[in-house]
Symmetry: C2
Subunit: 300 residues, 2 copies
Amino acid sequence: MMKKLIECIPNFSEGRSADTLRRLAGEAEKIPGVTLLDYCADESHNRSVFTLVGGPEGISEAAFRLCKLASEKIDMNHHAGEHPRMGATDVIPFVPLGGASIEECVEISRQVAQKIAAELKIPCFLYEESAQAEERRNLAAIRKGQFEGMPEKLLLPQWAPDFGERAIHPTAGVTAVGARKPLVAFNVNLDTSDINIANAIAKAIRASSGGYRCCKAIGVMLAERNVAQVSINMTDYETTPLYRVFEAIRFEAKRWGVSITGSEIIGLTPSKALIDCASYYLKLEGFDYGRQALENHLLG
Amino acid sequence: MMKKLIECIPNFSEGRSADTLRRLAGEAEKIPGVTLLDYCADESHNRSVFTLVGGPEGISEAAFRLCKLASEKIDMNHHAGEHPRMGATDVIPFVPLGGASIEECVEISRQVAQKIAAELKIPCFLYEESAQAEERRNLAAIRKGQFEGMPEKLLLPQWAPDFGERAIHPTAGVTAVGARKPLVAFNVNLDTSDINIANAIAKAIRASSGGYRCCKAIGVMLAERNVAQVSINMTDYETTPLYRVFEAIRFEAKRWGVSITGSEIIGLTPSKALIDCASYYLKLEGFDYGRQALENHLLG
């Protein structure tokens, strides 16, 4: 039996103060049963992203304690950066890994949001899979207006927070908490320098313009290589597998006499996202990832 | 940093006595830092295979203690079964998983073999990667003559054991200990019922007849499906990747107008064996399994 493992990726509105980042990392490392896999900060965004993994209890505790520390260390009244943001802890997503379900992550997100609102007096919105209304699924819609616009936004009839008062925390603002599936960042390079072709292919494959449901995509230019790239976020690799999007790019590209020269995974991916592709290309029959991938027995 | 994990798959000459199997499993489960992943017994072979995982110290201790218990419970003078065998503990392979190297497994195999010979008075041969002479790499060559022929064989000039005396243990016989890479059992089904085609393809791809170096293969008939299959053991999936053999089968099969209908992995496989295939088919650039596969961070 696999342990329940949950990933939490809190985003903080601090990307410049090494001291604050160190304190947040130190706090994360103190929590029993939780591992800080990675944290990275972007100075121009003035934002940092922490990646934590742990069981249900530990990960909930970690999310709360980091949010508390961030509320003590970060004053949004003095925050400037390129990335849109509305709170000291801007967003806290929970992601199910081996053994845990998305439903369990939704439940955890609700409990954490409730505790943050009750004890820290930071109003919280639930987003993505945790959203209690369709128009709150999309984080960008919740965050619109940013920290500066939130005092007014919270008073609008449709924008009462899911937990907490209709007033921002004076320095820590507002936080969004939610559950989502693991995201895989997957880029595909074309043998063309025509960005219009990458854009047209991106449009053909992404959900928003009629493509695959769990695929977000844009065309980008890799200036240093003079290569047009389809840059993709796979938001649920089990519902829309990577190979399906890859093969769709291949046949869309043919229309322009263009082919795929390579692809890349950015950052971390669950092994299963790639093993599902191997299963397709090798025509594997009846492969049971949970039972047959050796590593799953080592995580038990 | 990944923990050093080593797999040990001792084979015992007992596949019928539920009591002995339970005792061996119970002994394995008592050893701190070692996990018994699986054990299975075959009655007609009168043989059982245990799969253990642990760190270097625990796994060495487990191998020795199971070998000791087997020498107390199994009398080879009364053993009969279809599978060739020469000892109560017939063979003990050590396999490097995440974080451990084949060299470390060779070292462990030597220490364990030495201890078995010294303390249990069971002579040991080192085989595969641990072999000290080329003709001892192949387990079948060492085991030839089986339990009954070992007393004479040990007296031949070239068959002194690597550790221990030139005389079998009176009831436990002789044991082979060694290190090898993880093995992947991979079968490929053809859209033909002609076993000759599967045999010809197997011959074309296997090392022994000029094919890929780390590939063993035979043709077999799946009687219940009336399908000819190429049944493969990949003995080092990092040196000879699965996709390469799969594509070779595809082009060899074309010669007879035959194609691949499916494939299967039998038992466990390291995830990387399949992820390497996904990397090939998706043309992944610079994918770093150790750093980018999420699970590797969870094993740390």
